[in-house]
Each structure stands twice: as structure tokens, then as C-alpha cells.
């Protein structure tokens, strides 16, 4: 008996090992292609402006700091820091808005049985598939009539009014998964919905709240179309618009400054990702399952 299993084992192990090597070679190859542009931008930020496009070295033999130093001058009299503060404000407020409004909405859909719930839930899911461009023009007209162009109100209104259906959906899924006994016990103890929401459901929903918060932050940080349409004064520009203005000023083929700023603009997103990747990926994964 033992000899047979031993034979099997010796036959299997080398195959397993070559399989493992092939697997790692493939995975590493994909990894190199995927990460190349990210590593490239870091190296390029330290290359002399003229060498950025043509050079094939990932990192320059002699790193230069000119590109990064150039950022300190700002653009058209506005310091780069202003754009970052604006983006930080936009993204931070977006997070506050989405977390509050989406969790309230999700609680209603997941935990309260009111008349018309199924219909409204279906409508909410329907907005997931609605192209934003259909709403773009009337929203612009409305905000223009309210004299809110060139403010952050049009960018943030939707966040505070739970129009980001994806996050509502994510939280509904999560809240439905919580044990019913908890809110039934709360009800027996005389907790109203507000108490149950605040002291029981919300703390337990934390993973979904964190996932939504990080996605919201990153989406707002990357947002280009919203600021492009609603902001028209450079001192209010977010990083995305600042980058475009920078490129327009320096000339499109002068890569030094724009690549340096592009790299700096990516840092917050990459830092967030490294810190919270588990929440992001698990959040994404569950969204597709039900």
C-alpha cells in the first residue's frame, strides 16, 4: 500500500511543481503589463522633460527634480495646493453625503416594510442603468437658474440625496444579511427606527460604509466631467481640471510638468487603495453576486 501511495506522490509532485512555475510565470507576466504604466509615471516624473517620451529606461540613470520643482510655481498664479485642497473638499464632502444619505435609504429598503417599497426599490435599481448624460442638460439648466454654477453645490447635491444607487444597493444587500433577531430585539426593547438605525444597524454595516466611502472618495477625486461642466473659475478647480489647465499652459508636448503633476495626483488614490484594498475588492465582489 505504502509503496503505491509513494509512487503516486512522486509522480504527482513534479507535475505540481511545474504547474506552479507556469502559473507564476503567467501571473508575473500579467503583473508586469498591468503595473507598467504606474511604474512608468513614477520614473518619468524624474526624467528630463525632453527624454520622457523617447526614453525606454523605466527609471532615469540620473534623476532630475526639475519637473517636481516646477510644480511649486503653480499655474497662472494659483498654487498646486489649491487644487488639492479643492479636490479634498469635494471628495470629503461627497463621502459625508453618500454615507449619510445612502445608509438612511438602505435602511428604509432593508428594514422597514412600508407601502410601495417594492416599486420604489425597482425604480432605484433602474437608475443604476440610466446614463447620466440624459440628466446632464436639465440639471445644468436647473442649477443655472438657481445661480449655483461655479459652486460645488451641483457636484454634491446628488451625493447628499442618495442618487448613487450603487452604494444604496450595496448597503441594502449588507443590511439584509444582518440577523433579523437583532432589530426584532431592539423593537421589543422599545427602540424606534431611528434608534435601531443609529445604534444597531449602522455600526454593524461598517464594512459596507467603508467600501462606499472609499469608492466615493476615489470617484470624486477622479471626477472630470462634473467639475468641467460646473466649475469655471481656476481658483475653484479640482486636481483634474488643474491638470488640464497645466497642460494647456505648458503645451501638450511638454511632458515634464504634466507627468510630474499626474504622478502627484495619483498618490492619494494609490495610498487609499493600498490601505483599504480588502474593503474595495470584497465590496466589488459582493455587488455582482446577487
Amino acid at each position: 500500500m505504502t509503496t503505491v501511495t509513494e509512487q503516486v506522490r512522486t509522480a504527482v509532485q513534479p507535475r505540481k511543481r511545474t504547474g506552479s512555475i507556469v502559473w507564476h510565470v503567467f501571473a508575473l507576466a500579467v503583473l508586469c503589463v498591468v503595473l507598467y504604466p504606474v511604474v512608468w509615471v513614477i520614473g518619468a516624473a524624474f526624467k528630463p522633460g525632453k527624454a520622457i517620451v523617447g526614453s525606454l529606461d523605466l527609471f532615469p540613470a540620473e534623476p532630475v527634480l526639475d519637473n517636481l520643482k516646477g510644480l511649486a510655481d503653480g499655474i497662472a498664479g494659483i498654487s498646486i495646493g489649491t487644487f488639492f485642497l479643492n479636490s479634498l473638499f469635494y471628495a470629503g464632502m461627497a463621502v459625508v453625503g453618500v454615507v449619510i444619505s445612502s445608509s438612511l435609504t438602505a435602511y428604509a429598503f432593508a428594514k422597514i416594510s412600508f407601502r410601495g417599497r417594492n416599486l420604489l426599490f425597482a425604480l432605484m435599481i433602474g437608475t443604476l442603468l440610466l446614463p447620466y448624460h440624459v440628466l446632464l442638460i436639465p440639471q445644468y439648466v436647473m442649477f443655472q437658474k438657481l445661480e449655483l454654477i461655479n459652486t460645488y453645490v451641483p457636484l454634491l447635491a446628488g451625493k447628499f440625496l442618495a442618487t448613487e444607487a450603487f452604494f444604496v444597493f450595496l448597503m441594502v444587500q449588507f443590511m439584509r444579511g444582518l440577523p433579523r433577531e437583532l432589530d426584532e430585539a431592539a423593537k421589543l426593547d422599545g427602540c424606534g427606527h431611528l434608534r435601531t438605525y443609529w445604534s444597531i444597524v449602522l455600526p454593524l454595516t461598517r464594512p459596507a460604509l467603508i467600501t462606499s466611502a472609499i469608492f466615493t472618495f476615489i470617484n470624486a477625486w477622479n471626477d472630470f466631467m462634473g467639475p468641467l461642466i460646473y466649475l469655471n473659475e481656476p481658483s475653484k478647480y479640482t486636481v483634474s481640471l488643474g491638470l488640464m489647465m497645466f497642460r494647456d499652459q505648458q503645451g501638450i508636448s511638454d511632458y515634464g510638468g504634466q507627468i510630474a503633476m499626474a504622478m502627484v495626483a495619483l498618490i492619494p488614490v494609490i495610498a487609499f487603495f493600498m490601505a483599504f484594498q480588502r474593503y474595495l475588492i470584497d465590496g466589488m465582489a459582493t455587488s455582482g453576486l446577487k
Partner: protein, 320 residues
Amino acid sequence: MSLVKDATGAPSLAGESSVRPAAHKRRGRRENLSGYLFLSPWLAGFLLLTAGPMIASLYYAFTNYNLFAPPQWIGFDNFTAMFEDPRWQKSVQVTLKYVVIGTPLKLLLALGVALLLNQSRRGQGLYRAAFYAPSLIGASVSVGFVWRAIFSDNAVVDKGLGAIGLNLGGWIGDPDLIIYSLVALTVWQFGAPMVIFLAGLKQVPRELYEAAAVDGAGPLRRFWNITLPMISPVLFFNVLLESIHSFQIFGSAYVVSNTFCGPADATLVYTCYLYQKGFQQSQMGFASAMAWMLLLAVALVTAVLFWSQKKWVHYEEGAK
């Protein structure tokens, strides 16, 4: 206390005969009130920012509206002008090319890599995280700059392809190739659908594979007869979301092509043309008509996918 409620939210009696109907009614009304109170931010958003604007844009689509004078009803003129407009036709072509080439490539890569990562090996979680990262930064202006640089004349892609004998020149300046730099950008972001595929693959019961292996089914048979049907709901979800998403590409095209449209309108994607018409030429009526055509296209794709899912999407009866 067990109050069983039916779908409409009206409580119905279950067992507890001691509770009087009047108390139920009051309870139900209270639930309705709390429900709508909790829902009020969403309801306001839905009415003011979604439903209202949808109706308004449908109305604008049939008007001549430049934002300064009140809209003038012109019937179907925007739509006829749109169909005859060569740049509109071009934008449809460009967008379809982008969607039809980019989405399947992205999903194939996502599925392939998910199958690879689904084998438990060391470093699996790290690979998964790294492959997902581009999905988070791909739509940013920064990556748009990077893309423009690495697909330029004499840059990495050009030289790399030259080294294997493909002298295509820079893609950015070439009207035939620039769209493929955008396709490459979307394919690069395969991580998001990959993560969803992976989650689906994890749910396939192992016993199925073991049984198939006993029956002598090879890896290809197992993939075709077990994996694919078992993950078909996830595949459906990914196809639906990714194609709807690609129809709406805007930022990347704007940044990579710089002038909006690239050489010879080669990257004039639909939403960029909509933006030009609406916000640069103040033709809000025409732009609204364009937006409604986009909505119809997306609705059509959604409807066809939902209709077709009976044929290829396998839902497990009675979830475990």
C-alpha cells in the same frame, strides 16, 4: 410577537390573535411614515435630480433651446438633423467600435485571469489586488496623460512594436490607431470584472468538478459544461454593466485625444460630441435629443441582454 407582513407592507395576522386589528393598522401606518421619512433624501433626489430632469430632457429634445431664450417647440427636427449630421454618424461609429472591440476583450481577459487566480497559489491575494488597481485610476486625467505619452510617436509602445517588426508609428497621431489606445485603456482596467468573476468562481461547488473528473471529463469539458454555466449569472452581470459603461466613455477620450476628437474625428465618442453640442455650441435641444438616443441605445442593449439570458444564463433553482 410575530407580525408577518405581506409585500405591500400591510401587516397580516400570524398566530397572535390577541392583537387587535386596530393596533395593526396603527402599526402599519407608523411603518409607512417611518419608511418615507427615512427615504426622504432619496425621494427628493429621485424627483429633483432624476425623474424631473428626465422629463425635462425629453421635452428639450423636441425644442430649439440655447439656454438664453426660452425653448421653442420644433417637433422631430433635432432628430432628423442628427441623423443627417455626418459628425453624429461618425460619433456613433467611433463609440460602437470602442464598445464592440473593447468590452469583449476586457471581459475575456478578466475571465482568463480570474480562472488563473482561482487556483489557490501563494501570492494570489496580492495579484488580485494589483490587477484591480488600474480600475481605480484608469478614468483619471493623470492616466490619460500617461496614455498619451506612452502611445506617442517614438514612445514605448511604438518602439516595442518596432522591435518585433511592427512599425506602426505613434498611435495618438494616427486616425486609424488612436481609438485602439482607448481600447487598450479600457482593457487595462479588466480588474473590476475580474474580481466579480473570481467571486462567482468561488461559489461553484467543488463536488461538481470531482464528479466530472471521475467521469473522465478533461479540463476543457469541465470548463464548458460546469464552470461556464455556473458563472453565467456573473457573466451576464459583467456584460451588462461593462457594455453600458463603455457607451458612456468621456473623460479618457477627452484627455487622451486632447482636442476632443483626435485626428480626423477618430476619437469623437458620443458623449464628447454631446458635450460639444450642448456646452460649447449651446445647442441644448440637439444635445438632449442625442442624450435620449443614447438612453434608447442603452435600453435596447439591456433589453436584448435580458431577453437573451433565458437562452444562456443558468440560475440555480432554489438557492442553498
